[in-house]
């Protein structure tokens, strides 16, 4: 062993980046290692011809304006990371069917009042109910923020006094709360649109979790970086370097080393590193199964893994297109178009998991609508997102892979033409298709999932947050990322990285105090 680091962060995904920055900012000697040759995990970019593609980010909901920054913009600015954020003009357009089977083609603006006004237009006579609902959302959001900031020690008296509705609704799934409030089904259908962003249907998704995301999108608008999410990741790394951090790319962590039951180092493809603490941006199943001594894994951790039973959330399927016509020429007016067979998320989730025959769910984004400079003059750039199931991609032979992924791409390109009247096919200059194989290749996540474990039922975000001190009790090692307490998505991962970094620093302080 040679050089000694206070903290090694394994994996420069979103959580790894915020964790590394946080620790470096607190004056620790930090090494960030990443198995790929660039940072970000999903938050990256790739170049084909004259296009630089955004691989994953649809929109970030926690940015806010420069004058009134929301959590993520604030966090980035505190870390000294200055991203060129572009505001997404609308919430979404959805082309689908209402739960009752009637056609649905709805475009929702962002901002609370415009959103409510538009809802009244689509579902007349509902504004009183919707206003009540927004009151509940506001209380829930405030209550969640309180709990998040209490590091697992929320005062139940404060909760009872200030956030009683949060307590009353918090343990239920979205659908139950909506039904209890007697929200008209059409309103429910429209507001279900974002379900895919959390990868769980409304009957199983925790109300608190959805409510937070929904409110942020609607009231604070959404943002994307001007130069793909690689801009965020790269700027985070550059700032981390300025703060004295070291970065090793193309470096894979192979094994965590222990002195007794306490972590003391990491064996990597570029040598062994001695350190006091590791924050691992790796799924816990992989850490336990492949990267540490079996006899150090507590029985409860085995039970936790078994209870989760490899039930990972969304595995992404994406088609990236660089087009040799402008968005205007192609008749693309909205940044984000959701296309589905039904607004009933439970049915649609089943359709998706049914594989090619039943999966007609796709979201088409055109980056130029939000950022005219997303691609060279005279062109446009966008991508389709859908989800896949692990069996259809697990049982596929190498030689059938391209044909299979292209079959989906053809279907979604056709869907955009048939449902939205946008024909991109003759104008495709560059095209790339990413499947769960691609995400497994670059991220190394189980089954190429990007969201960690399903945040459903007993294992929701709030329950995980409440049990922060019980899960993963390995001394000197904490897993971070999408499988963590905050669940999935860019914002959640950034926040999770910071939270876990704080806990790690606290652990180190307490251990130091004991010596």
């Amino acid at each position: 062993m040679s050089k000694h680091y206070d903290i090694v962060v394994v994996g420069a995904g979103n959580a790894g980046l915020s964790a590394a920055l946080h620790c470096a900012k607190e004056g620790k000697k930090v090494l960030l290692i990443e198995q790929h040759n660039l940072p970000g995990g999903c938050a990256t970019s790739f170049v084909r011809g004259r296009f630089e593609f955004e691989p994953s980010l649809h929109e970030l909901c926690d940015i806010g304006t420069a004058e009134d920054p929301a959590e993520i913009r604030q966090m980035m600015e505190e870390y000294g990371v200055h991203v060129d954020w572009k505001e997404v003009p609308d919430c979404f357009r959805i082309i689908s069917k209402y739960s009752d089977g009637t056609p649905m083609d709805v475009t929702m603006p962002s901002g609370k009042e415009p959103f409510l006004a538009k809802m009244e237009e689509y579902v007349p006579g509902t504004s009183k109910k919707m206003r009540e609902y927004f009151e509940l959302l506001e209380e829930t959001m405030a209550g969640t923020a309180y709990i998040s900031n209490s590091n697992g020690h929320a005062d139940s008296n404060v909760l009872k006094e200030k956030y009683p509705n949060l307590l009353r609704t918090g343990a239920y799934p979205v659908k139950k709360v909506w039904d209890a409030m007697k929200l008209p089904q059409k309103c429910q259908d429209i507001m279900s649109t974002y379900w895919g962003y959390l990868g769980i249907d409304m009957e199983r998704m925790a109300f608190i979790h959805y409510c937070n995301m929904f409110m942020k999108y609607v009231t604070r608008a959404a943002y994307i970086p001007a130069h793909t999410s690689h801009e965020i990741s790269n700027k985070m790394v550059e700032r981390f370097r300025e703060l004295g951090g070291d970065v090793w790319y193309n470096c894979r962590a192979e094994e965590f080393l222990f002195n007794g039951d306490r972590l003391c180092g990491v064996k990597t493809s570029m040598g062994t590193i001695e350190c006091d603490y590791v924050l691992a941006n790796i799924n816990p199943d992989i850490i336990y199964a492949k990267m540490m001594p079996k006899d150090l894994i507590p029985e409860r951790e085995k039970k936790l893994s078994a209870a989760r039973n490899h039930n990972y959330s969304a595995r992404m399927y994406t088609v990236y297109v660089g087009l040799n016509k402008t968005a205007e020429e192609l008749g693309i007016k909205y940044y984000c178009i959701f296309m589905a067979d039904t607004a009933d998320s439970t049915k649609e989730y089943k359709n998706i998991l049914g594989g090619y025959e039943t999966n007609n769910f796709t979201i088409f984004l055109c980056n130029n609508i939000t950022n005219p400079e997303a691609s060279p003059e005279g062109t446009s750039i966008g991508f389709f997102t859908s989800m896949g199931n692990p069996d259809e991609w697990g049982n596929l032979a190498q030689e059938d892979y391209v044909a299979y992924k292209n079959k989906y791409a053809k279907k979604f390109i056709r869907e955009l033409k048939d449902r939205a009247g946008i024909d991109i096919e003759p104008y495709i200059e560059e095209i790339c298709v990413a499947s769960p194989w691609t995400f497994a290749r670059y991220l190394g996540t189980p089954e190429g999932s990007v969201y960690g474990y399903e945040t459903a039922e007993w294992d929701g975000m709030m329950a995980r947050m409440m049990m922060l001190s019980s899960d993963y009790p390995i001394k000197g090692l904490r897993p971070i990322g999408a499988a963590g307490p905050r669940g999935d998505g860019y914002s959640s991962a950034y926040v999770c990285g910071r939270l876990m970094a704080r806990l790690a620093l606290k652990d180190l302080r307490e251990e130091g105090g004991q010596q």
Partner: protein, 401 residues
């Protein structure tokens, strides 16, 4: 607030339910068996098989092409198993240890994708005056030698989602190899498109793979037109591959795919605009940068003939190496015996992405494949970047077994 929301029948129980979330979760955890944790996933195994970090291959046969001054290396998986599948047109980055240097060279695979499943690739190496790795592969490598190569790489393949059904291939010299693979893939049913190959050689005798190509041209979907520059002969086109020649063999809707030596690209620069094709219908495989960077109009003239020092950092290792301003930074790094990542060697794939901590460099715009944010923050692709001052450079590791 005015609203009081109740979900359950009795509101107080909801509060309890909320507080009990951790108890419910704990109960779910405790109810599960304490079995050994596994992490073996079919999707990940598939991804790994298609895109391994590297592959170990053994040379099982060397086929001489005497007229063309070239040899084909037949490579098999060293463990006797499968090799990663690929799309016809992709290349391998061969990792070679020549003297004290670790160098990589990209070679298009000339065999059919189907053969990879049976554990075989073929690559063809042509004499290249002063070619360090080509000389080694042609003169030193023998049957039984083992080396590492990358997974198949690149974007130079037929894509049904993008391309018209007719591809007119413009090939020169060993640039025929990706098209040979495509033709084989069409013939064995792996690919389905119409391929017309305009293949430039000096003389009939120097035509690489003539017999194979002529046999493949029996297929209705494959047409091979030999274009001889130094010889006029019946049954052959004469001269260079020009726009007029392309038009003669093209159909109404087609794309041009180009692979050949530097001189051919330069000549085609004047010809291609005459075809009036949109950009999406012209694709090039580069696999290398110009050897005459000093002649580049934007290259700083004070750097012609100059040498500099590069401080290379890789993980905990640091060393100082000499470099010429007229060679890509990667070449200097490799010559010093550093195992650095690289694949395409033309600035495109970005696998060698490295950080310039200090110093200046020249990145020719025709090889610009960097991300926007990378350009702003001093990242370069050393395979297609030339040093113009002393540099401090941070290079990533490379997986090499």
């Amino acid at each position: 607030m005015a609203v009081k929301v109740k979900v359950g029948l009795i509101g107080a129980l909801d509060m309890l339910k909320f507080k009990n979330m951790s108890k419910v979760r704990e109960a779910a955890i405790q109810a599960a068996p304490a079995k050994e944790i596994t992490a073996d996933y079919a999707v990940n195994n598939n991804a790994k098989a298609l895109h391994p970090d590297f592959q170990k291959v053994v040379v099982t046969e060397i086929i001489d092409h005497p007229g063309a001054d070239a040899k084909t290396l037949v490579l098999r998986a060293a463990d006797g198993g499968k090799l990663a599948y690929f799309r016809a047109g992709e290349y391998l980055s061969l990792k070679l240890k020549i003297g004290q240097s670790y160098v990589s060279r990209p070679y298009s695979i000339s065999s059919s994708p189907k053969e990879a499943l049976a554990g075989k690739y073929e690559v063809t190496v042509r004499t290249n005056p002063g070619g360090f790795a080509a000389d080694y592969l042609l003169n030193e490598v023998k049957v039984g030698d083992e080396f590492l190569c990358s997974a198949p790489q690149g974007n130079f393949y037929y894509e049904e989602l993008r391309d018209p059904e007719h591809i007119v291939a413009l090939a020169g010299g060993s640039g025929i190899t990706p098209f040979l693979s495509m033709a084989k893939a069409i013939a064995d049913g792996t690919e389905d498109f119409k391929l017309t190959i305009l293949f430039g050689s000096r003389t009939e005798e120097q035509i690489l793979f003539k017999e194979e190509l002529d046999a493949l041209a029996e297929n209705d979907k494959i047409n091979v037109v030999h274009v001889l520059s130094d010889e006029e002969k019946e049954g052959y086109e004469h001269g260079f591959i020009t726009a007029d020649l392309v038009k003669k063999y093209a159909s109404e809707d087609y794309s041009v795919f180009i692979c050949g030596p530097e001189a051919m690209y330069r000549f085609l620069e004047g010809e291609l605009p005459k075809l009036g094709l949109p950009r999406k219908n012209i694709r090039r495989e580069l696999l290398g940068v110009t050897k005459k960077i000093a002649a580049h109009p934007d290259f700083p003239q004070e750097c012609v003939g100059a040498t500099v020092q590069i401080t290379v950092r890789q993980g905990e290792v640091e060393c100082v190496i000499p470099a010429s301003c007229e060679e890509p930074i990667l070449v200097a790094v490799e010559r010093a015996g550093i195992i650095a990542p690289s694949r395409c060697r033309s600035g495109e794939c970005g696998w060698c992405r490295s950080k310039v901590i200090s110093g200046t460099f020249f990145a020719p715009p025709e090889h610009e494949g960097r991300r926007y944010s990378d350009k702003e923050t001093g990242y370069i692709h050393p395979c297609a970047t030339f040093p113009t001052s002393d540099l401090i450079l941070e290079v990533p590791g490379e997986y090499h077994g």
